[in-house]
Amino acid sequence: MIESRELGKVFKDKKRGEIRAVDSVTFTCKPGEIYGLLGANGAGKTTTLRMLATILSPTSGSATVAGFDVVRQSTEVRAHIGFLSTATALYDRLTAAETVQYFGRLHGLDDATIDRRMAEIFKALDMEEFRDRRCAKLSTGMKQKVSIARTLVHDPPVMIFDEPTNGLDVMTARAITDFISQCRSRGKTVIFSTHVMTEAEKLCDRIGIIHAGRLRAEGRLDELRSQFRQNSLEEVFVAVCGDGQ
């Protein structure tokens, strides 16, 4: 469960002064549900997700993830999430197995548990073949699998994906979207951000459209369509974001 209440983030910039990257964003994401955060580049998606992952701390409002407060209980929050984005790279000089092991240890798991979890995940993702190969030597698709394995080692109830398919080829992107829907079927709470409309249409149970730091519209896909009297999500998106410019 993710609950965001009036979440806001102001950055201070020497040249441009205060920048309100995220402004009073309120939404709820329930277990077994995929919540899509839809927005253009710079709309505030990444900042919102980073605040939920406790990588950044909010300047106003609050949020709870898996029942923990992102400010006061940030360590517990991080222990209950799997965070994946195109910016979360892997250590080139560690092997696939060592990477997963390292993150397992940081999550406080003992070696026996890590080995058991790793065997399960590597089998499920078909990673046995390259488990002892260094990440630098892996293909983009293989790396993505290692990243998934890393986020899953502690079996987190909440998954946060920040533009996970950005810059990936069709097959690799598809593997990721498949993985996201699997997370839902396992009852996890999933939030992910994207600017690809088809991806959002295909995956999301509920969609929030974020523009210039504010959540402009929110609802199920059919709700959004009827509310804005548009046929496709893209048309809805343009209707929501177009007026402000």
Partner: protein
């Protein structure tokens, strides 16, 4: 702080570093290869050229002396001097380094010296040119000996004792312990080398573990794990300290071994004993530990400001001068450890190490220097931890 988590981070960073060829190069290969090579080349060159110069006879020209055949004959028979025919531009040839020296024997030299009249022999040479200086010394010695002989003969002819020439003699004796003589010449440079090396040894890993991690995009990955930022810094910090200490100790061992090895070549025939007490070196290493800690923490904090490895280099390179300056001042003669200099970081460690290697243990000052450096190091660690908790530093755009 959770030491368990910090150690998990440390172990991973260690494994990561050991697999990096650049680390191995800067931490292990350079100190281990560079010092023996340096000593070998310098030692070989020094002994080779110095030996050659003392072996070969000095080429000189003699102006005049045609009416002083005894002096000329004696000069010709000197084995370390070779006379070439006189040219009018003898002085020019000396300054062109074609010949080593030129001697001018005044007209009627032999006759007037035998008659008891003082005459002057002029030697032209090139100062600071080793071979020319050597020729000058040989000529001086030749004429001194010649003068002494003439004086003795004159005394003997008058039936006087040759002892009149030298009513008394002066003898000097060295009372300093051999280690202190060695320390004065060489000891100041040991802490200098260790200070520089413990800094450069920490530089590469500090940049790689901060700016490098940002550049490769793994910073966000590690920040999304439950490890607290303080534990993350401490783990990285331990790695940088280890790299710094390993680099300086390896360099020290390598320096010591190559020095002992080339010592004979260096000091053949010299009366100076260059022995340095191993326990003093161990004490210096202990005194330098908090300095390595200070370096590691400062480097981490500074390098974290950068977005990329390259940018980090531009921030860190000027720091090398900040480190070298006090280290060099510490080596200079006359700069001494007192209650003022004991508070200046780096300089104090350099000075206290020089004293210790020289066999002087000022316990109170040593404790003060150690304590001060520990205090500076603690401040630097706190600063590094603070930096890692600053979003604007971690996510600088």
């Amino acid at each position: 702080m959770n030491l368990h988590n910090a150690l998990i981070v440390f172990r991973k960073e260690l494994r990561d570093m050991l697999r990096d060829k650049r680390t191995i190069r800067s931490m292990i290969i350079i100190p281990v290869i560079a010092f023996p090579l340096l000593f070998l080349v310098v030692g070989w060159a020094a002994s080779k050229f110095a030996g050659q110069a003392t072996k070969e006879a000095s080429t000189i020209m003699v102006q005049g002396g045609d009416d002083s055949p005894q002096v000329l004959d004696a000069l010709r028979s000197a084995s370390d001097i070779q006379i070439v025919p006189y040219q009018p531009d003898a002085r020019q040839e000396v300054s062109d380094k074609k010949i080593r020296a030129a001697v001018e024997i005044p007209e009627g030299f032999q006759a007037s010296v035998s008659g008891g009249h003082a005459e002057q022999v002029a030697i032209d040479y090139f100062a600071d040119d080793m071979k020319s200086e050597l020729a000058k010394e040989r000529l001086q010695k030749f004429f001194d000996d010649y003068r002494d002989r003439l004086a003795r003969e004159a005394l003997a002819a008058r039936g006087l004792s040759p002892g009149l020439l030298e009513p008394f003699s002066v003898k000097t004796a060295n009372v300093a312990a051999p280690s202190k003589v060695g320390a004065a010449i060489f000891g100041g440079w040991i802490p200098y080398m260790i200070i520089i090396l413990s800094f450069t040894g920490a530089m590469y890993p500090a940049m790689d573990l901060t700016a490098g991690e940002k550049e490769r995009g793994t910073m966000e990955t590690i920040l999304s794990s439950p490890v607290a930022r303080t534990d993350l810094v401490i783990g990285k910090f331990l790695m940088v300290v280890l790299a710094s200490v390993v680099t300086s100790i390896l360099s020290l061992i390598s320096m010591g071994v190559s020095f002992a090895w080339s010592k004979r070549a260096f000091l053949r025939g010299s009366e100076i004993q260059m022995s340095i007490d191993p326990s003093a070196v161990a004490a210096v290493v202990v005194l330098l530990l908090p300095l390595a800690v200070l370096f590691a923490a400062v480097l981490l904090a500074v390098a974290l400001l950068a977005k990329s490895y390259r940018e980090a280099q531009t921030y860190v390179s000027p720091l090398v001068f900040v480190v070298i300056m006090p280290a060099v001042i510490g080596v200079m003669p006359g700069v001494e450890l007192n209650w003022k200099t004991a508070f200046i970081p780096i300089l104090n460690t350099s000075l206290v190490s020089k004293d210790v290697i020289g066999g002087n243990y000022h316990w109170a000052l040593m404790a003060a220097v150690f304590g001060m450096t520990c205090a500076y190091a603690a401040i630097a660690i706190a600063a590094a931890v603070r930096m890692f908790n600053r979003e604007d530093v971690l996510f600088r755009v």
